[in-house]
Subunit: 306 residues, 2 copies
């Protein structure tokens, strides 16, 4: 695939995850925010991945990403070990515990956009430190739509830089607990409105298996999760959701509220596939037609009739 065609760039972490769920354990599986987001976005069009891996990063994971259609011109290879995360999920999968985090080569990551990426109209700043997100933003030439994700760590340790990111992006995505932490508002609706007042056009509050809520000055939109009976590994669900969303938005080339809403539903459906297997295994197997079918099902489930 030609890099000239890159309309969407995603920056974030690449990780080797060791994960335990009630359905089993997996060691050093492909993970990280940018891996999930790019695997999801690639269903809908070319996507450029910006991240860093160590010299231990398995070739088969490079193959997985390439086969999915992810452009790797922005993937740096550094000397040392790849970023590692390990965690385990409780029986109902709604709570997880981080067991260990090893930054490794990620500690010195400086994301650089290849020349061919700098004019990409769509940019997704997946979960990395707000300083790195700003560094990427400074390299992007007049993007049409920038979305950013974040996490509780940055809210606690890099509040000022995060506020700068929030004021510069079109959309911020965050968990409901993070929205509360960021704003001090206990009520999720009030918290989201307070984040909206910080600058973005859209705030998307993610609620895991319960879907998400989109807030904008023009109104709210309810993004239901697709009810799936087979949740085996929820890791990366939020990144998959955001990546699918950005992939659809970039493919459509429009940033109006209607396009944003429809793209959010497609993101939710993509995420519902992602959690059905460990790592990106399920995403590597399905097709865009599978997503379209489930999207039609979801829209029927949202339609009461006249």
């Amino acid at each position: 695939m030609s890099r000239d065609g890159i309309r969407l760039v995603v920056v974030g972490s690449v990780a080797l995850d060791s994960v335990s769920t009630p359905f089993g354990s997996r060691k050093d599986q492909l993970g990280g925010s940018v891996s999930y987001a790019c695997m999801a976005a690639a269903f809908f069009g070319p996507v450029g991945m910006v991240g860093v891996v160590g010299d231990d990063f398995p070739r088969r994971y490079v193959a997985t990403l390439k086969t999915a259609g992810v452009d790797l011109a922005g993937l740096q290879r550094a000397v040392g070990r790849t970023f590692r995360w390990s965690g385990e999920y409780e029986a109902d999968m709604n709570n997880r515990r981080t067991l260990a985090t090893e930054l490794n080569v990620f500690a010195n990551f400086q994301p650089e956009l290849p020349d061919a990426y700098r004019r990409a109209p769509y940019v997704f700043l997946a979960n990395i430190s707000p300083d790195l997100q700003m560094h990427v933003l400074s390299q992007a030439e007049k993007p049409a739509f920038v979305a950013a994700d974040t996490m509780d760590l940055w809210i606690k340790t890099a509040h000022g830089a995060l506020r700068e990111v929030i004021s510069r992006v079109d959309m911020l995505l965050l968990n409901d607990s993070e929205a509360r932490l960021l704003t001090g508002e206990k009520n999720p609706v009030k918290a989201a409105e307070a984040v909206l007042a910080m600058g973005p056009k859209y705030v998307v509050v993610k609620k895991g298996e319960h879907g998400a809520l989109m807030f904008s000055r023009a109104g709210r939109f309810i993004v239901p999760a697709f009810p799936t009976a087979d949740v085996r590994d929820p890791t990366g669900a939020g990144d998959t959701f955001a990546g699918g969303f950005m992939g659809v938005l970039a493919a459509g080339g429009r940033t109006d509220a209607g396009s944003v809403k429809k793209a959010l539903l497609a993101g939710a459906v993509t995420a519902s596939f992602g959690v059905e297997a460990f790592s990106v295994d399920r995403l590597a197997k399905i097709t865009r037609a599978d997503i379209a079918r489930r999207l039609a099902q979801l829209r029927r489930m949202m339609t009461p009739g006249r």
Copy 2:
């Protein structure tokens, strides 16, 4: 109002609740499943309330119910104290702790349908013991649609009787944790499908602030919660949801899937008002037009456009 017009009968508990939330504390407020459900149903048409109160039950609460249009011919007055419940909510309102339960006159409650109620085509068995729910069912003459609610206590202590109720009703409503407890399935979708296999046409899994999911053999429907910024007392939200639903269903006189879906949305909106104040205070103040306005808002929030 004439009792001849009663098309909907609701049986359940009447309580004096003492509740603490981050917004304050209230002692001996009007509560109980049948109180909330009837206050909600009464917006849409006549509703007959079957329950029991003690000789300490405040007259002003009788007035509240009557003013709302609730028919009290089935409300028994017994010698002794009214059923009492007390509980407190954590800061985010998603968890509550029961501090005390006093059954009092409720311990010997035998629900009896007045003659004028026995032919009501719509019956809602709100949360009471499955034995009492069966006793009510045996008095109803060929109802068109019966819904039942339940709770973890009955799943644990009256499993056989509850299964009998479930096999006899058109719809069972229960919390997601209760669906897991009842079926042993951890996944909420699998749990709901397992409940559906026990006999009802519809299973509604309630998820609190995240809305509900309806399962039927003909398909699923997502019932989003209306995102409200002012949650002051979530007590009775599930009863209000179910009561509003049954009120709309009874008023429409149709039990097809489309009518059920639309009535569920109206129930969700009614519940979103109920939680905005302690007890039934907010329900006592709003009108059916307020509900209609918010329902239109909710439907817009569910519509991505073409």
